[in-house]
Symmetry: C2
Subunit: 357 residues, 2 copies
Amino acid sequence: MAFTEFRPLDEKLLIEYIKATPSLSSKIGNQFDDLTIKEVGDGNLNFVYIVVGTSGSIVIKQALEYIRCIGESWPMTRERAYFEALALKEHRQLCPDHVPEVYHFDRRMSLIGMRFLEPPHIILRKGLIAGIEYPLLAEHISEYMAKTLFCTSLLYRSTMEHKRAVAEFCGNVELCNHTARVVFSDPYRVSQYNHWTSPYLDRDVEAVREDNYLKIEIAELKSKYYFFLCSVKELKLSYMGISTLALVISGVGIVLQSYKEWILRTLEETWTLFHKKFTALWDQHKGGSGEAYVPEIYNNPEIQQLVQQKFMKDLFHDTLGFGGLWVWSMLRILNQLRMPENEQLVNNKLLNLQKCF
Amino acid sequence: MAFTEFRPLDEKLLIEYIKATPSLSSKIGNQFDDLTIKEVGDGNLNFVYIVVGTSGSIVIKQALEYIRCIGESWPMTRERAYFEALALKEHRQLCPDHVPEVYHFDRRMSLIGMRFLEPPHIILRKGLIAGIEYPLLAEHISEYMAKTLFCTSLLYRSTMEHKRAVAEFCGNVELCNHTARVVFSDPYRVSQYNHWTSPYLDRDVEAVREDNYLKIEIAELKSKYYFFLCSVKELKLSYMGISTLALVISGVGIVLQSYKEWILRTLEETWTLFHKKFTALWDQHKGGSGEAYVPEIYNNPEIQQLVQQKFMKDLFHDTLGFGGLWVWSMLRILNQLRMPENEQLVNNKLLNLQKCF
């Protein structure tokens, strides 16, 4: 059967699709008899199938015209799959050790075929919730962040390449709007998608909605998000990376003191290592095609140092802002825990981290 | 003769082109016998022809593959004409009283046909140099700035429309790079395009090239230029408008005290009126499709006022930065006057204006 137009997959269609696609069928050794197919239930946005055969495995991800975890009532273009595939392929080129390979992308079907990281690999979030300490986490995350962020910025790219990428990623506006709504809007207004532990947190929720100064800061971050992140992607991962960890801090009320300490250490190490690796890449490429700081102008060690210090300080400032916001909106939405304590905890930790810097 | 591919115009070709183009020939009443054609010599980038007949007139503007005032040694894509026509048409829709009509655009020929503003109209710069006081200047410039800036920003547009425009204007990267080079790079490094009154200003030129803190500020403005101006256009005009006037201040050493006062008054009025008109548009459209400040979040008079104050203050801050920079680079490049005095003058005036605010 040919897949000449978009069709949402089910297991039967999925097998037909793989059979018809050499770049996928070859990964499972062209064996279709003993396939195990599992739709992974925890995707927020997309449908994700793990396909395991006797001689190989793949992951197939398909975007439908709506947000999976909400349903057809929140429509969203399938084109998000295109931008995801684009980013994955680019990031893999920049950091092959920490980004899975994309075997196949089909824009018409909004379908990505990619490497399945077999057990004992699990999703990091699950590992952290289970209290596992990963001694190399900071090393790996900082490596990924430094390489992908540096190499997609104007510190490395010419304005020509950069603008081309910006124009391309402007097409991903719907997904950006979705994130903007979840992070910058809904928690600060009445919305059907807000959930909290009622009645215990009712007053807190109201206090947030009435905090003018907080809302002004939110507007500031939202404007940065639109201009820098959406289009340029260059800071996005830094806030995602740091905030994934920060999110976990917010849950540490239920775990051991020693694990809390490991998390905080890892958070601090991640920034320290990222700082080191990012500035090392900068030093290494400062005579290259990046157009942010023209070498003939920023031409002595003192100014180079001043410029780097300012850049990294601003980046850290933004990272804390987005990280804090992300934690905050997650707490509102996932409704996992009592909030005021955790927020206080997160705020204190971020404050401490800022002091360290 | 058909114009099926790009050809640089001369007078003969120009007449043929107009004859073959009804939207142009109709403007001069289809009379070709008594045409006067004058190539206006003062274009920096393009060739500009004024075509006057017995029953009408037009302006024809053509972009070649290089920058006119420098020559073929500085190549630049002709596509800049496309973006100019796009912006002109859009701005005319937003502010028909102060933007000339585009009669015709030919992308293949990089050619714009537009209204000729007949005498007594002259180019504003020339009027200012001649010492003419225009009592309505602040009123008109502020009107144009408020309407075009507000209506192309996220205060008025949805993110969808906005991103589409950003993606489109990313294509204008070469012209943006040219401006960036002239304004943010060349004055701060050794460049063949720098001119100054040597040997009198040699030490000043050197001092600029060695001022680390100035160069750090320049980098900051350049980064704003790339993210906000190039792509979004929304602040561009404010800095152009204000800085055109600021440029004139720099030349007031040679004119009457009363004219200096008129210029400063106009500069101040321009900002004051712009502020008033821009915030009025904002109030008027605050329940509209603009997505920067969602009404359900920014939902009480106090926060609306705080948000507007912050926005306008930041905008003013940026405007002064770009205005100052623009004057500075113009002084370097045009080499019109002795510099240190004028800079001091401009700096003082801008400082005063900032205090007023």
